[in-house]
Subunit: 212 residues, 2 copies
DNA sequence: AAATATATACTGGTTTTCCAGTATTTTTGG
DNA sequence: CCAAAAATACTGGAAAACCAGTATATATTT
């Protein structure tokens, strides 16, 4: 199955997920878990001094954005394969991860067999996806989004206040600017998300993990 | 630590979580995992023919609502302890689970020690919570919600269409009713969620797992 | 230093939401 | 069968969002 020993690293903020992955991988002799981390920056530091074949990487990490970590990993260690492991199945996120160099994309409800198969595939130089993910990627979405919107500091601030239910007038008072400025931020946010109104803006922000 | 053998059952839609829990629990002789399920209804069927000490129960299950399963378990087997294991830390959900009879509430980022400790506590007849959960429960929320809103079939239908970004006029056309009817549904939804506008409505609906 | 992006702010206007109250019909539960 | 809940619908009106375009100042990037 594996031509040689495969060295892996796990990054997930759930100790139980890490535990489960270790238990699963340990029943395969040639799969060797070198380390596990609950923070993204720790894996970057680790990779500076250690060569790793596969990183299994959660997207939602407490200290940073898994997508950025993915890009960083591929920048510093291009030969290292990255398999995203996440609950998110939004096409935008999947495409963004692939754009950032991910070799695989698994959902957390994947089976053991699926995980092992995925590791095999990426080690063979292939891309690997959970059941259903390929379908999500390939079928043109009814509402086609571009990449995940990149928000400025101010836009994110305004978005959070909108999500908290505040009106433009209240937000303007809070941020000491004109209500017309906030209206302009709203318009820009709607355009970036290709959203027709606040309902879609909030929903997509949630789905993309921009707000919790 | 445990006066006697503790029989447990795990219900979670993530095989990796189940794997992790099993690995963890198996290193404690007196903790005996009888079975695991990825569907809520399966655990109910199991409990009909088997006495269980502790059920570790995810709230988000694919076939049903973990909160309802919790209530069902406590109805049919009051002596069985239920520990919720979830990613949600909204006060409403925590209170609802306690209301439905849960004995513990853990977040999925809990450590191994925390889990074992929780099992110990519930077996001793105590309530048990993840770090931080007690704080969430005890501090009066800035925006105090009541219990998780119970939506009618029609209300949920309208909510989903609102979340999809449709206006009241469009929703009315879709459902073959007057736009004024939809406006009335909107008003009722805002009242049930104690939301001041659609932004809060959508945000809370996602936070409470009512829509995905 | 220059180009670009961001933040800010305005005019003028339409659409939509939110609000409060009221009323009737239909459905559901006891 | 009856009471209660849900669904439906209306009047009248204010507040807020959404829209399109335009403009200037500041910050950032090249």
């Amino acid at each position: 199955m594996f031509a040689k020993q495969v060295n892996l690293v796990i990054v997930d903020d759930h100790p139980l997920i890490i535990q489960g992955l270790k238990a699963l991988l340990s029943s395969h002799e040639q799969l060797n878990v070198l380390a596990s981390f609950t923070k993204g920056q720790d894996v970057i530091a680790f990779l500076l001094g250690q060569e790793v074949d596969v990183v299994i990487l959660d997207i939602s990490l407490p200290d940073c954005n898994g997508m950025d970590i993915c890009r960083e990993i591929k920048t510093m260690a291009p030969a290292t394969r990255v398999i995203a492991l996440t609950n998110h199945n939004e096409r935008s996120l999947i495409m963004q991860m692939l754009q950032n160099g991910a070799n695989g994309y698994l959902l957390k409800n994947a089976s053991s067999e699926e995980l092992i198969s995925s590791i095999t595939q990426v080690m063979n130089g292939q891309l690997s996806f959970s059941t259903g993910i390929e379908e999500i990627i390939t079928q043109p979405a009814v509402y086609e989004q571009g990449p995940v919107p990149k928000l400025t500091r101010r836009e994110l601030e305004v978005l959070k206040l909108i999500a908290a239910g505040e009106t433009s007038t209240v937000i303007a008072d809070r941020l000491c600017v004109s209500p017309l400025t906030i209206e302009m931020h709203r318009r820009n946010l709607l355009q970036k998300f290709k959203a027709k109104n606040v309902a879609v803006l909030i929903r997509m922000s949630f789905q993309l993990g921009l707000i919790k």
